[in-house]
Symmetry: C2
Subunit: 343 residues, 2 copies
Amino acid sequence: MNASGRVTAQDVALLAGVSQSAVSRVFTPGASVAPATAAKVRAAAKRLGYRPNSLARAMITGKSRIIGLVVAYLDNQFYPVAVEKLSLVLQAQGYHVLLFMAANTAGEMERLMEDLLAYQVDGIITASVAISNDVTRQCAQAGIPLVMFNRGQPGAGLSSVTSANALGGRKVAQFLLAGGHQRIAHISGWQGASTGKDRARGLIEGLAEAGCEPHAVIDGMYDRETAAMAARHLMDTASPPDAIFVGNDHMAFAVMDSLRAIGVRVPQDVSVVGYDDVPMAAWGAYDLTTVRQPLMRMVEATVETLLAQINDPERAAQNLEIDAPLILRGSARRPEGGDDAGV
Amino acid sequence: MNASGRVTAQDVALLAGVSQSAVSRVFTPGASVAPATAAKVRAAAKRLGYRPNSLARAMITGKSRIIGLVVAYLDNQFYPVAVEKLSLVLQAQGYHVLLFMAANTAGEMERLMEDLLAYQVDGIITASVAISNDVTRQCAQAGIPLVMFNRGQPGAGLSSVTSANALGGRKVAQFLLAGGHQRIAHISGWQGASTGKDRARGLIEGLAEAGCEPHAVIDGMYDRETAAMAARHLMDTASPPDAIFVGNDHMAFAVMDSLRAIGVRVPQDVSVVGYDDVPMAAWGAYDLTTVRQPLMRMVEATVETLLAQINDPERAAQNLEIDAPLILRGSARRPEGGDDAGV
DNA sequence: CTGAAAGCGCTAACAC
DNA sequence: GTGTTAGCGCTTTCAG
């Protein structure tokens, strides 16, 4: 045992009466050791409380088994749950998660890349974070695979996993139209993000197919306060909307709160539809009709894509879109005689 | 540059025409280098895109600057926000967070300790996780400081940071009594956790001081469904409570949902008080009167305690309790003519 | 102030 | 199978 109280393979080797490499082999999955040797070593290791030093191993192998997970904000419930699932799936695969909280700006991301690279992460997952071209270049140069979760970046040459956002928006359009809504407004997700843009585009295209146009489109910036203000603003006109599609659940809750605060009934006066289907959407207070992002499938696809790229650096980037069903609840009037199940 | 495309200090040294140790010194905060040398080295480093390898540095120094953060579940909003703040504060101090999601069981924690130790973390923060004696022994043996966030463990000899839970419960008792409530029930936090026990004890003691007893106490297990069932159960008797103190906000939301679902009005028929003051408590749909855990102060205290222990291994464990004010909102009837502000 | 040399704890050839 | 040997990329004495 060295000065710091840490037990080394050497200590175990001494006690077990074998070489230090023998000890290493016992703790290296695919190595060949005589059962008897392994037993001796394990016994000695147990007695000493030995544990291989992952950092030392990482230096040699060039694989740290650490994944950098970069997240912007955790107040939208979708992300904590995503972080939880991503961690769990990664842990199950023997990886570990180095967590980075980032402001959603290119400069901040830049700064984080320094640390990410310094810790020799095997791969990076970004959740709802903007990636500058500089960053992608740095990653490519360092040969570190990166997958964007819930954010696309057309033309960046980076892998991404999202739900089928445009299609989701289209489903909402069709559903609201079928429900007899005439004035469908959209408080959109941030138009600087692919998710916000795609959902808005889907809605608009869906309406257009029926010869309609959105009653109004306001950028809610994925921010509660902005969305609430937008809702008040929409209702404060001569012809208020009879339905509002909100760019994500997080904002939809704020919209419902602010509608109720001014005496507007949901869904009798205005139907509200969200996007994400976070757990809270099912709670009694909101009972929100929303487009479900299939979290586990997205998480699994993200991890799969990342690990595939780690194991085969030549692998091309891929952009996956996962189908997102509409979940019918009580916040939006449904088509008469319509199906009760999700679309 | 070695085969893997990684740039080493050696490469920089060559290009700068200095020794490798000179390069090291340039990137080691407290080392003495001639300005001219430093300039040459930095230029070369920049040109090559060099970044010191934290893992190699960690091996030498015995300090990884990694903190293991162990969290149980992220569905109670209190924890994601805590994780966010903890990460931010730790990042600001030059530390990095290795995130572990754990089932809240001793066995699981055991398994995680393996990984924690293997990665040579400098310290550990657990958020609402039960720690077995085995684990504390392992930590002590490995000399790794550990601070429990939002969980106490009397007699474990471990540091912890919590809010003043018992006092919080007492405040609720006094507030509800002052509001004229006669039958005060408690759907408690999990009685296997210090937080749940202390808040319940505080309430009961607070009532006792006024010569009262709780109308009923049911363990809500920090679980939405359990809490909702408890609420329905409480109301389904000849003399239902006129106030319910719920062990945390997460359960309180479920309680309010289930009360409303059976036509019970909050606060006209029953007052509801929570604990935590998660962001959602302020949202219109719940407008929950609750005891605020001062998150930032708890986070800062946690990080401070941990870093103090890292820097001075001899330092004794400390158990901090941070005062938690009662925040008055609309879910509970207030004392007549009472103060509008928090207590 | 700077370079040479000795490792941190481990894995990966390489002989035996 | 197993021990020996050579490093992974870096920090840190130790001379100069």
